[in-house]
């Protein structure tokens, strides 16, 4: 754990299961996932396609409900809350960044960034002001009145991140934020995210790109709906760097998409799931 705190974890998942289909066709996208995420962590979730990374993110982002298990957000169970309360949490505590940016094409950059503020009841002018401030930190101020389709992919993703941040959420969820970007733009985006991390935000990022895990403070690998490995990069440079073999590697020979990230010498196993 990068930070030893006694406070309640931001996210606490206990035996979380998400099942699709019934009976014989039942398929568990998440299979009894137990995970604790502390405030200020930057977590990279890796794993092959269909291993449940995105489902995990959707459940954490309250876009989806788990079939079984508990999800405590800031120490409060989420299952008992109504859809309206979920919407309020999404608007105030969670910012989501998508692979395909998901900007509304009808609205310009400024309005897109201001969109989440609409649902927290902030007056129009104040919303635009706030959005403009955020855009300034992303060096997109001169693009405020551009339409999304006039921007490059990297710029669009920066707008999307600005939108995720405009409500000052405590958690930022990013579903392959660099999946549609070239490597240069990817690193720009990752720099932005790690900047946010340094400012104390909790970030959970799903990625396919092992190179990007170097930005994260903790790397979780998933396989078949379970957490296969959970390594945390030591923020403390004095700790000896040590390469650790993860059970997942056996699997990697069969699965092409198995992450190479776990070979990274800067990581150490924190907890390995069965």
């Amino acid at each position: 754990m990068p930070k030893t705190t006694t406070s309640t974890p931001v996210i606490q998942l206990t035996d979380l299961t998400k099942r699709y289909g019934f009976g014989d066709t039942a398929h568990k996208a998440l299979n009894e996932v137990t995970l604790t995420i502390e405030k200020g962590e930057f977590i990279a979730v890796m794993g092959p396609s269909g291993c449940g990374k995105t489902t995990l993110l959707n459940v954490i982002g309250l876009l989806d409900r788990a079939s079984e298990g508990d999800y405590d957000l800031d120490g409060k169970s989420v299952a008992s809350l109504s859809g309206k309360q979920h919407a309020r949490i999404r608007s105030s505590q969670i910012g989501i960044v998508f692979q395909s940016f998901n900007l509304i094409h009808r609205l310009n950059v400024l309005e897109n960034v201001a969109l989440p503020l609409t649902y927290s009841g902030i007056p129009h002018l104040k919303r635009l002001e706030r959005a403009s401030e955020i855009l300034k930190t992303f060096h997109l101020q001169e693009r405020e009145y551009y339409m999304p389709w006039q921007l490059s992919g990297g710029q669009m993703q920066r707008v999307a991140i600005a939108r995720a941040l405009v409500n000052n959420p405590s958690i930022i969820l990013a579903d392959e934020p660099t999946g549609n970007l070239d490597s240069r733009s990817s690193h720009v985006i990752m720099e932005e995210l790690s900047q946010l991390h340094k400012q104390g935000n909790t970030i959970i990022m799903v990625t396919h790109n092992p190179n990007l895990t170097s930005y994260a403070s903790r790397v979780i690998t998933m396989l078949d709906g379970k957490i296969a490995s959970d390594t945390s990069t030591m923020p403390d440079p004095t700790t000896p760097k040590k390469s650790v073999k993860v059970p997942l590697n056996q699997h990697a020979k069969r699965k092409e998409k198995a992450p190479k990230a776990v070979k990274s010498p800067r990581k150490k196993t924190r907890k390995a799931a069965k």
């Binding site: 309206k84 919407a87 999404r90 998508f98 998901n102 509304i104 009808r106 649902y119 129009h124």
Partner: protein
């Protein structure tokens, strides 16, 4: 809350503007529906107002005696005159004399209609209504003369007053004083022309613009010397005494008719009731027909809203992901459909009155404005917007967030 509402309105405005063509067509559908309803109601308001003003012109001094048993059936609409032309009237000359002698009665005016073809020198007026009445008719019917004078006590039986329309069609002039025409083999001289009456539908059931008015005596001559009274207009001296006049007239007539109440006396608004009922029924039927076009317009709204929801599935997903509740999504789409139906309603209300006034060029009355019509139009446009917008809005709100985000457009 209000903040969110103004946001929704702005948002709806933008999204409607970005699909200007189909928004306009949808609005047009609603506008046509509302316009047809408004037009129908405006015309019927005009009729009602016209009949009401005729009666109220006598300031509550007028009572009407009609022969025959009083009908209590409000659905008796086809025959506002309770007297059929082929039956003998139960009212007699003696009744008129008795009624006019009652205290507080200013005038008792008998009305008798005969049919006759009028032959002028150069033209023929086919099947004109011939009204035989006494000179007091001028008092109870609020008529004004275009030229000449109305029949008076000194008038000869061979003189007649004619309506202005008839004057023009017979003599090509609206001042045919002294001109002669023959009717039923009898020659008449025109002594007066009635001013154009804007109310051919009136409590006397006579279209005075096309009528010939002759003396009551002459009318009896045409009818084998017997009177055939279809109505007696009773004018009280004071409006306060009207009810007592009506009561006295009733008991007087019953005693004259050997205890049989084979007539009816109506006063005030009840005089117009047969006409009013007829028009209410007509208005009801016409409004129902007009409402069909409104329903079609509403279906247009629903259709376009469903298209909009399908097109903006991704947007709905994004909005939900950044914190929109289901209620916010419902409100967003509902407000959009309300704006469409609202605009349609306003345009339709305007167009409805415009078309009502255009139609009234060919009718005898002008449409009237009333708050009932405005209220009905307003209620209808809101109802249509809500009713036909609700299903698409709910459909939008119930979309699965993750599924919606996966959709590409």
């Amino acid at each position: 809350m209000i903040q969110l509402l103004t946001d929704h309105v702005q948002n709806a405005y933008h999204s409607l503007k970005s699909n200007r063509g189909r928004t306009l067509l949808t609005v047009l559908g609603i506008a046509i529906g509302i316009a047809s309803v408004t037009c129908t109601l405006a015309i019927s308001d005009g009729v009602r107002k016209m009949v009401d003003t005729q009666v109220s012109a006598f300031d509550g001094k007028l009572a009407v005696v009609r022969p025959g048993f009083k009908s209590h059936d409000p659905n008796q609409l086809v025959n506002p005159v309770t007297q059929q032309s082929f039956s003998t009237s139960t009212l007699t000359d003696a009744d008129i004399t008795a009624l006019s002698k009652l205290p507080n009665v200013e005038a008792a005016v008998p009305l008798m209609t005969i049919e006759g073809t009028i032959h002028a020198q150069h033209a023929t007026g086919p099947n004109s209504v011939v009204l035989a009445t006494t000179p007091d008719f001028a008092k109870v019917s609020n008529i004004t003369m275009l030229s000449g004078k109305f029949l008076d006590d000194t008038a000869d039986n061979n003189t007649a007053v004619i309506g202005v329309q008839l004057a023009i069609s017979l003599f090509d002039t609206d001042h045919p004083i002294g001109e002669a025409f023959t009717m039923r083999g009898q020659q008449f001289t025109v002594v007066g022309v009635l001013r154009q009456e804007s109310a051919p539908i009136n409590f006397n059931n006579v279209d005075l613009n096309n009528a010939v008015v002759v003396s009551f005596e002459q009318g009896k001559n045409f009818n084998q010397g017997r009177s055939q009274i279809q109505q007696i207009d009773l004018l009280a001296k004071e409006s306060s005494s009207l009810s007592s006049v009506a009561k006295q007239a009733k008991s007087k007539l019953i005693s004259q008719h050997q205890g049989e109440e084979d007539f009816s006396i109506t006063s005030g608004k009840a005089i117009t009731q047969p006409t009013g009922q007829l028009f209410q029924a007509m208005t009801g039927v016409m409004t129902a027909i007009a409402a069909i076009s409104l329903i079609v317009g509403g279906i247009g709204i629903m259709n376009i809203m469903l298209v909009g929801v399908a097109e903006r599935t991704r947007e709905i997903g994004i909005r939900k992901a950044v914190g929109a509740s289901q209620r916010a999504i419902v409100a967003q789409f509902l407000i959009e459909s309300l704006i469409m139906s609202g605009f349609g309603g306003l345009i339709g209300y305007g167009f409805g009155y415009l078309s009502a006034f255009i139609v009234s060029i060919f009718l005898y009355f002008t449409p009237a404005f009333s708050w009932q019509t405005a209220g009905i139009a307003l209620a209808m446009m809101i109802a249509v917007g809500l009713f036909f917008g609700l299903y698409p809005a709910l459909k939008a709100a119930r979309k699965d967030t993750i599924e919606s985000l996966r959709q590409y457009h």
